[in-house]
Amino acid sequence: MKEQELESAFMEIFHQYNDAIFRFCLVKVTNPQLAEDMTQEVFMRYWQYLRNGKEITNPRPFLYTIANNLAKDWYKKKKSIPLEEDGAHDAALLARDASPEVVAAYKEVLAMITDMDEPDREVLHLRHVEGFEPREIADMLGETANVISVRLNRAMGRLKQRMHI
């Protein structure tokens, strides 16, 4: 593939998946600003893969896998970051040019996910928001499909409890 064609295909993938990857990064780090940066980094790494001549037949799970790995790196570094610098709940950062309704939705969702453990919100998001099958989630997260299914059931139970259902 020629350089221009490659870049064109890459930008098409970006426009198709940027929101989904951003949401997933937000699930992982709960910091909108950080999630934006992470989203950009995901696509940069994806571009590097393409540039190295590696063929990626299904970019969607591949992008989530990159995001998951970046989040793991972030968690390792996070241990040394003081909590006050985390800024995890600042929805206003995300919604600078959003309508009041969207800002309200942000806050509600952020409150919901930050109340859950990261493994729970991760599988819930991938299964019920992004629509991945347990087997696909397992590939992305490096787990077995059975582990993911069990984790999904438990996460759904905890979500019901939180929502008093």
């Binding site: 970006f14 959003a98 969702v109 919901m112 019920h128 928001v129």
Partner: protein, 282 residues
């Protein structure tokens, strides 16, 4: 609320969470810049500037060669300025100073210049002022790498510029050789080659052990080659001998260049007579 309703609500809420338009645009711009930069770094292509530079360089070299040929062909009609230009172009292009064509040309030019620049007058036989041609020549005298004597182009002055008479700066070894050998009588040329070979062989012997064995061997080989060429030239006619001696002098010139790089050299009458090697206290 059953599970389906819950997940549907959860999904609907989440799908409202998107990048802001400005953030998405900024990210797209960043990624486009990144991919462009990446392409430049990973797969460099000849830029228009490079192509232009290459074209300009090639054109300049071609033009220089045309002027050089023109200067060589028409120097007799056009006098000293073209000749001086030719010399400078040759120096710029790194043409070997001991090319036999060059030597023959230089000798002839000296004679032509004597004929063409000395105006017929009652003072024709009188000694010429040293600066006659210097005043007529283009401003090549400002080139500090050329000794002032370069422009003393009359043949008597040139022939007189043997290694015994050339009074030049110590770091102008090559230029000195250009001048001295250019108009040198073939017998003097033979003597000079023999003298240089002997001097440098002696110099290498004196510094044997101080120089790296590999360097000594390389320089000795060059001198041996020059010596063989010198011997081969002994029973040849002048033209053939000059060609062989030119090649021998090229080898000697390589030795001189190498010695100059090895340390601080002492030059006397255009020949390196001693060397203070880098890193030694002598």
């Amino acid at each position: 609320m059953n599970e389906d309703t819950l997940t549907k609500e959860y999904k609907e809420k989440w799908e409202q969470v998107t990048l802001s338009d400005s953030s998405r645009q900024k990210m797209a711009d960043n990624l486009r810049a990144y991919t462009s930069l990446h392409q430049v770094i990973e797969a460099p292509q000849p830029s228009p500037f490079f192509s232009y530079f290459k074209f300009a360089y090639t054109s300049a070299a071609a033009l220089a060669l045309i002027v050089l040929i023109g200067a060589a062909s028409w120097r007799s009609e056009n006098g000293d300025s073209l000749y001086a230009l030719k010399m400078n172009i040759e120096r710029l292009l790194g043409i070997e100073p001991y090319d036999s064509t060059y030597l023959a040309m230089e000798t002839n030019v000296g004679q032509e210049q004597q004929e063409s620049t000395l105006a017929p007058s009652e003072e024709t036989d009188a000694p010429r002022p040293d600066n006659t041609l210097a005043m007529e020549a283009p401003p090549v005298a400002s080139d500090s790498s050329l000794p002032d004597t370069t422009l003393e182009a009359d043949s008597s002055a040139r022939i007189a510029m043997t290694k015994e008479s050339a009074d030049v700066a110590e770091d102008d070894i090559v230029s000195t050789m250009m001048l001295t050998e250019g108009a040198m009588d073939i017998d003097l040329y033979r003597d000079d080659v023999a003298h240089r070979i002997k001097e440098y062989q002696t110099l290498l012997e004196e510094h044997d052990g101080e120089l790296e064995a590999e360097v000594t061997a390389e320089l000795t080989a060059k001198l041996d080659e020059a010596s063989a060429l010198y011997k081969e030239a002994e029973d040849k006619d002048e033209d053939a001998a000059r060609l062989l001696l030119d090649t021998a002098m090229n080898r000697i010139g390589e030795v001189e260049s190498s010695l100059s790089l090895l340390g601080e050299v002492t030059v006397e009458e255009g020949i390196i007579i001693d060397i203070n090697l880098i890193g030694t206290s002598d």
